[in-house]
Point group: D2
Chain length 279, copies 4
């Protein structure tokens, strides 16, 4: 039998001396939440940020206590909010920033139950702004304030719907494709200027509070599990992977979309799925 029980994580001090901002920790199921915990265990200093409306839930304060981090609200579609966030963060750290996690996404059309072929274009514009252009806004504010240190690392979370259609994922597929393009485009400029790397991690479908809003999510997560030779990656495993991307071990990886998915992306079919098809 495979020892697939949850690891008790060892700490290696991989991020000792590093300072970073984690966007998007909503509750303890969030990948951002798991990543904040792991970064803290690995020795990083953190600032947590989320949308003001999300902060009102209050959950994030538990995390803040655990990882000894201030919480600074910011609407990522608002440049003034971002400016304030970076100013306060640099003040708190007394200097520059080494890493950023962008785990931000929201589809208004999905929330409102609008089919892809019937989307509201005003909602769509907001979805793209919140879920994709927000990465440009964050990087651009960092760029203007020269907030990121040499060899800094930025990671945004994405999903394989940016490459292949998953019908219920709706307009978020387009938002993720846009996000991955912003990653490459800004990654180029920040790489040339300050050796900063920018990548996306394309994660298995994960049972987060955000994910569970997607219609047909259960049937889909089962399918993904059966289609992945290692099974679906969970939020803690994703956090581990992101830690390596923030560490000094991956300085030359940039402008990439990295699949963290148990092999889903390069599997055409599995015996397990074929068996199910024959039912």
């Amino acid at each position: 039998m495979a020892p697939i029980l949850k690891d008790i994580h060892m700490a290696y001090n991989l991020l000792k001396g590093k300072k970073g901002i984690i966007f998007g920790a909503l509750d303890e199921k969030s990948i951002a939440w798991r990543t904040a915990l792991r970064c803290h265990e690995e020795g990083a200093q953190l600032v947590l940020s989320n949308a003001p409306v999300a902060l009102r839930m209050g959950e994030i304060n538990k995390l803040a206590e655990t990882v000894h981090a201030p919480v600074i609200g910011a609407d990522v579609t608002n440049m003034d909010d971002l400016k304030k966030l970076f100013e306060e963060t640099m003040k708190h750290f007394d200097g520059g920033i080494d890493f950023i996690l962008h785990s931000i996404g929201m589809s208004l059309n999905v929330r409102k139950g609008k089919h892809y072929t019937e989307m509201d274009y005003g909602f769509n514009q907001k979805t793209l702004d919140i879920s994709a252009i927000s990465l440009h806004r964050v990087l651009r504010m960092a760029w203007e304030m020269d907030a990121l240190n040499y060899w800094g690392s930025v990671v945004a979370l994405t999903y394989i719907a940016a490459q292949r259609v998953f019908p219920d994922y709706n307009e978020m597929a387009d938002a993720k494709a846009l996000l991955e393009s912003v990653t490459r485009s800004f990654g180029y400029h920040y790489g040339v200027r300050k050796k900063v790397r920018v990548n996306t991690v394309s994660q298995s479908p994960t049972r987060t509070t955000a994910g569970s809003g997607v219609k047909g999510f259960d049937g889909f997560i089962t399918y993904a599990e059966k289609m992945s030779p290692l099974g679906n990656a969970d939020g803690d495993q994703c956090a581990d992977f992101v830690v390596t991307l923030f560490s000094d071990f991956t300085k030359m990886v940039t402008m990439q979309n990295l699949f963290h998915d148990g092999g889903f992306s390069t599997t055409g079919v599995t015996e397990s799925v074929i068996t199910q098809m024959e039912k």
Copy 2:
């Protein structure tokens, strides 16, 4: 010596009996213009459409005369305009539509000389709407009015900047990535419903009036020429390729991004470029 002189095109009646809309013919250098000519030669009936502001140039009327097509203005970010366009088109054709060419793109930030790291977000929103979401709008109006015939074919023009960074291409890279995602997303739904296929053609850099607005375009087009084993593809060659995608010979090709680029996309380096690097 290679016979690379311009072909005198033969006509094969490849599109006989087919009816289509061509968006984006600005002047005789436009790929849309070249495509309209070729579609006409191959027996198709056409409707030409462009933005009202572009129509005011008046050039398109020459094309309209040559290909015996009405010109119907439409702002592709305006659903009322699109509705009117489809209504008039179906009336003109006395029935459904077989193909659509989407050759629409405009970057306000490029026009205004804004660097990618300093973009105006209002401009960017418009760029995405005009260059990418417009494809959704066109397909969605066709979908609502059931305007496309079974086995219809839709092609949108794109550029490899959607996959790799070309710094001067600026925000259009992100717009093209979004366009390609919309192609897949809507292609799925329209394929399931009516066997309609939707693809993008990723064309060599081409000396069009639109293309020439891009900074450093000359140096870049030379580089692309040296990096393509067959050289850069021109507008007439692109038109030929698009004709095959509108024909009945390609019914099962859908949701693809097809490189029409003389081999640029799969060439890492050429001897010609290496020689230049050693200067």
Copy 3:
């Protein structure tokens, strides 16, 4: 209801004046067979070739009669055979060759029922030679004899197992990946020298005599059908697509792997598959 009945093909003279070699027509289900028929209908002159052992079946003579083509046997792993084939072909055509279809593949380990993890390496070496390096051999003999005309076109058939794992496809996945690489590598050189283009077509799983040897093929073909928005492409549709690649409409497409698969390759999941998973 969608009019998905088989088309009665019109002929357009798309290949009028063109001369080509078709490798691999075994019986009337073969894609090479269907392609030979379509090329003939479109006005091409043909030479048919297959392995001596396959010729002994005798089926190919029926095709030869229909398309008025000589049959010239050749073991594609034998340079002397290939030399003789090209010599006789050029004599028959009284000149150069415009196109070649490579539809050749055979897995000894699959035939012998060897699992991928237990392959016989001698068999594997033969599989790679027959299925992939054979394309190099054909192109190299054409190159040495300067047998291909300017703007010639070469197509090899492949399968998406070159990109994603389909367990029962076994070592043929590796052979197809090798074939696609040879396509790019030789495509570069032949493009620079004589504007010859070389591409692969990645076809839906097709019920050919060759395909039916693969274990679990039925379950798999059903899965592919459910996973393709347009359904699986059949052999005649593949033939149509290949005709466009041999025609003058696609001169600038080279070193590409072109999916002809009803959208399978860019579909992550369909509602039809999800429904099946919930059973």
Copy 4:
């Protein structure tokens, strides 16, 4: 100024308790050599292996001393040698193996100065066997002997020539494409059976003794440097990245080709290259 001086590496004990085999350390410039050093620093126990002919150079003994590892010769195209290697390794470790680095490649046609279009097919067969099928042989022997522990990790080094043509890279492009396919194919099976992950790292061109054999290597390495926003990745940086793939932080990454190239793979052109083109 960017602090791009060589780092003095800290050790984090990332591989504490792990045991692995490193194939292909020829001399101190080899990526395998650098990786062995880093794995040792990170707490791993090692066995070094190389071809008998390479061992005769004697350089490897210096490395063996530094990392306290036995050297066990093995011709990777010989199953008996591999069996002996695994037997001795498991005896030395007193148990299973956690990771393997495959850094093995050799092109006989390049060595003999044969152009790609004039390759010797006997040489080519050996090139594929040594450079690509060897990974299958290593994994298959491990599979048969059940030598790899649960959650083991295997990395093979590759190059972007597997996706895009670099003319002087010759037949090695095809070998690398084959290697990457074997990675996916065997990765699937080993993933299902024992949660073992198998990946390739696609590294920047690196001035190793092996690399320097390639014609036009200097012109090319300059081009790659100019085309990578972060510059070319060096051997030590590659070693760092490989360490993360052997660690417990990346358990769900499998069947992937990971670019470790300073952004080369997603950069279409740079201002630095355009400037050079205008000379």
